[in-house]
Symmetry: C2
Subunit: 300 residues, 2 copies
């Protein structure tokens, strides 16, 4: 079989048109170089070089083969580099699932890091609720999920990503819309509130329901929704107030005021990273290495 080393030998001789100089370039002596060229010619079944003891010239076949040999070697070089990069996790594709709410917080951190540290990694994003992310991970449809805490099947791995408090979104003019001090949760007793769907936003629903019942607070649920921006639209229309993760305050709604809750309110919205434990994607492993521990609520 023809070898890549033989191609390199031929290219050197074809470019130098001199066995001695070509051998020097290849860090070897002339005789083995001659032999390699002879072997190559025998393998190919045609002479590539016309060599009298005083000159070396390319045959027509050699001219044609030179281009091919150069391309083959370049291609091999390129493929080697590509594999090295993919293996190092600095190249390839990363499919990331995220919940709608994480678009304001955790997802941005992950994307920023990926773009900064793994610029050659292509990122595929798809918005999925937590349960759908778990399914997609199990099927290998995505590599990484940014999801709310939920059940923890053993074949998936988890890591805390982000935690933030809730704030109250209050329509301007509402009795609770005035005042600057943080609100206690008890302020919501008997108050009209837009709540989370127990099905599509089960995590938030359960979280708030538990917190309210622990304190004996009973808000008046006027609607159950799953998308935060829809809830804020209802708040804006004056239906009532809503409790949303603080990062949602990045959405500015005319006529909606955000008020922080008192520090003793035990409500935290968490995001976590989820991946299939058996996933060997170098890009995923590299990203997980790079992602720092969650820095709590250092941001708005």
């Amino acid at each position: 079989m023809v070898t890549l080393a033989q191609l390199a030998c031929f290219i050197a001789v074809a470019e130098e048109l001199h066995f001695g100089r070509a051998a020097e370039r290849l860090r070897m002596t002339q005789p083995p170089l001659s032999r390699q060229i002879q072997l190559l010619e025998r393998h190919l079944g045609a002479p590539l070089l016309d060599r009298s003891s005083r000159s070396v010239r390319l045959t027509p076949a050699g001219r044609a083969f030179l281009d091919d040999a150069r391309r083959i070697l370049r291609d091999t070089e390129r493929a080697t580099l590509a594999v090295r990069q993919i293996g190092a996790g600095t190249s390839g594709t990363l499919r990331i699932g995220f919940t709608a709410g994480s678009a304001h917080s955790g997802l941005q951190d992950v994307l920023q890091l990926a773009r900064a540290e793994l610029p050659s990694v292509a990122v595929d994003l798809r918005e999925l609720v937590t349960q759908k992310q778990h399914e997609a991970l199990s099927e290998g449809a995505i590599d990484l999920g940014i999801a709310r805490p939920a059940s923890r099947p053993p074949h998936l791995s988890f890591r805390a990503l982000y935690e933030e408090p809730f704030v109250a979104a209050v329509p301007v003019g509402h009795p609770l819309s005035s005042g600057d001090e943080p609100l206690p949760l008890t302020a919501l007793h008997q108050i009209n509130a837009v709540m989370y769907s127990p099905i599509d936003s089960r995590y938030f629903h359960d979280l708030l329901t538990r917190a309210f019942s622990d304190l004996g607070v009973i808000p008046q649920a006027v609607q159950h929704l799953s998308q935060i921006h829809s809830m804020l639209a209802l708040v804006q229309a004056g239906w009532g107030l809503a409790l949303v993760p603080r990062s949602a305050t990045r959405m500015r709604f005319e006529g909606v005021r955000y008020r922080p809750l008192r520090a003793d309110v035990p409500l935290k919205a968490s995001l976590e990273l989820v991946w299939r434990s058996a996933n060997d994607s170098p890009a995923l492993l590299r990203l997980l290495e790079l992602l720092p521990a969650p820095d709590d609520d250092a941001r708005p």
Copy 2:
């Protein structure tokens, strides 16, 4: 350095996903195959296969590299074949010079043979008088000439290609246009004749001049031309008769009759192949091998 053999090993394992079957396909035993894969992975700096003792799967890097490896091997295969064909003279390009007159005879034989036996060889044709062909051959501008006999510089090689007698082209109504018996050359004594240019058709000019003077025949030259079809046009117009190579009878001119010359007339128009002795074009050498010895005047 990565070797093509290693690429072949990897492709086999990647396709079989089983070292044993892959080794069988490669006509070798498993252990060296395992070792080659290990070496390849070390060279590349990244694992290509994820193998537990019960299953073999491709890593992301392996998936990407598989395509590259396949392409590199295919490319090498293709280049090998191409070089073999060029070396065998069954591919490549052949630049052929020819004299206008040879278009009716020798050139057609050469082209027919090339098309039949060397279908992958591209043929470049250019019409050149004999002297220009010699120059073009010396400069390497053409590979093969189809020319009239002339000087024989030592760096050019020659071979007789075709030989044919002359015929007389006579305008209908001319005294010599009637009768079926071959004409003797003496019939042209004192007769109006269209002759060949001593410059551009030196070969024909010298040939006829010598034949006439040997017999003491003196035709009346009414014009000197170099292109046979121009001479026939003058014959058609009644200026006189002309002696043309028999293959020119393939040109049918209304009002022109061709009469053969007597067999004892020592007039033969020759064509020869000319090439640069140092030309190593396999296509040329192959064509020269294939071209039979001239078969004299077996054709019209």
